[in-house]
Symmetry: C2
Subunit: 356 residues, 2 copies
Amino acid sequence: ADVKKIAVIAGDGIGPEVVGEALKVLKKTEELFGYQFETEHGLFGGIAIDEKGTPLPQETLDICKNADAVLLGAVGGPKWDNNSKELRPETGLLGIRKELGLFSNIRPATVFDCLKEASTLKPEVLEGTDLIVVRELTGGIYFGEKFRREGASGEEAVDTCVYNVVEIERIARQGFEIARTRRKKLASVDKANVLETSRLWREVVNRIAPEYPDVELEHILVDNCAMQLLRRPSSFDVIVTENMFGDILSDEAAMLTGSIGMLSSASLGEGSFGLYEPVHGSAPDIAGQGISNPIATILSVALMFRLTFGYADAAQSIEDAVKSVLDAGHRTGDIAVDKSTAIGTIEMGDLIIAAM
Amino acid sequence: ADVKKIAVIAGDGIGPEVVGEALKVLKKTEELFGYQFETEHGLFGGIAIDEKGTPLPQETLDICKNADAVLLGAVGGPKWDNNSKELRPETGLLGIRKELGLFSNIRPATVFDCLKEASTLKPEVLEGTDLIVVRELTGGIYFGEKFRREGASGEEAVDTCVYNVVEIERIARQGFEIARTRRKKLASVDKANVLETSRLWREVVNRIAPEYPDVELEHILVDNCAMQLLRRPSSFDVIVTENMFGDILSDEAAMLTGSIGMLSSASLGEGSFGLYEPVHGSAPDIAGQGISNPIATILSVALMFRLTFGYADAAQSIEDAVKSVLDAGHRTGDIAVDKSTAIGTIEMGDLIIAAM
Ligand SMILES: CC(C)[C@H](C(=O)O)[C@@H](O)C(=O)O
Ligand SMILES: CC(C)[C@H](C(=O)O)[C@@H](O)C(=O)O
């Protein structure tokens, strides 16, 4: 039988709790659909710093490289915030992206009907909002040379933003391809009126655009995009952009849906390999209380099924189960209007696998 | 008598129309308050490209340098969008900032009560929102070295982001000082978990913070700030940040107020010199029709009176006049709910000077 290997990285804070529920979903999928999964666990982030002295131990990297996909909970917390750079969870995150060649970060910003009221946007503005941010993840100012030096006016710091045509072309194609499977609209975001990397970005996007005549391409400046996301969110379909702009815009887009606790993300490389994780963080303030919301992590499993394994049936089953549990009115504390009726992490997981 | 010299740069699109109304306000101020102004006009932006072959002619720069303050309309338009870099209006904008040493861009994002419904945010979320973005304007990735080169994977583009302690310290002080005159809360925005310039930024802000013990300082990551502006806009007082982040966040903040057509901005250097302009652009689509909204430009004059000349009485008179005209229900097309009752640019200007 075709056994799929999944590297499981629970991480810090609520990571282990929410990943625990996702593992129950994997098990249930095996029962229901006959698929087979083999999981191997790795230490990563703060817990890896504590136990192994580095946020990304070689062993964890090997587990990931040896797997077909990675499921990540969340990393980080105040405990490690003042560490030196090499001993910070974020450094592990950047490292794993680079080492695994995950150049494309896919973040759907979907509005869950039952959570519409949770958005700070007016419901009529949000109506019909369903967009995906495709963010370049292994280039740009995140990975360019950074250093300090003595300048004419004292100490100065330098970051370098670099993009080459290959990096731009592969992420742009990703944007066009995804747009093709949806409403066929691609917004390419840059700051071409100021940055050289953005001018190259725009040139490359324009050069390959004729290969996707069915996709309507728009170029939009990053400052304008930050505004238009607020003004007309439903007009966007797929947004493709570089690493730093994508970091900012994907968070803005996620927040405006009101469903940030429910959103999943995929980080993809060449081929079908991918790393899947919830958009929310490690929420150290509520960790260990059994009240966190496992839905975003469970939906990350569904995304993994779709994008890496091609198990559309199982993915659909999970997504439908989540919807039916929410429609039945079940809520964890973060999304409950009446907090007194909120259910716990495990209860939510149980309800979802029962509904599958 | 103390005659104040004002360099007037009408620019492109609706620039000349809205500046025309601001000039009427200057005249009215002379009559009412006895202040004296001398204006000198300069070509800038697209019109300067057309007439002088450069977006920022030396003559215009001289007029500005010779003045106590600059009033700018708006620059740019599709006509010049595909020009080479040296022949683009934006290049003139970056040039004038650098040449005049305007290192600090101040953008109040105020909610006008009568325009609350224009925001896409829920009124209860917007309630109490009144923030200022203080953006560093002459450093960072905007002005660092930019070039193309051949790399291992073909052509690549490079932008360099540089900040030194002096640049960071002066803009941080600006942020603290402004917070001090308001609700005494300063949010310093950076990406210190990734960028070296942000780490230096945070160090410098922390180093001078003890000099402002009355101001409550918070550090917030740029991606989180993009989210929190949406989630809890009213909790922000003053936001201070570097050039690129400020470009994005100030536009996001302006848009969420629903009042973007009404917002003014100041760009300041050392001393009292400043350049004042509306936040909105040149709106080439409605230029020349006499329907544009002059309020943001008129309020830019009020800002000039306060920040450069110390004419608080005249500033207050303008701001009160704008408020009373709006309260009386007068609207230009951009802010009218019932477009059929909209008044024109000149009519709006006349009503405001009559109300002063
Ligand atoms: C933690 C940080 C380094 C990271 C990033 O900026 O990429 C995070 O914000 C994200 O979006 O995954
Ligand atoms: C036109 C452009 C260069 C400019 C900037 O990015 O600074 C504009 O967006 C602004 O905010 O004034």
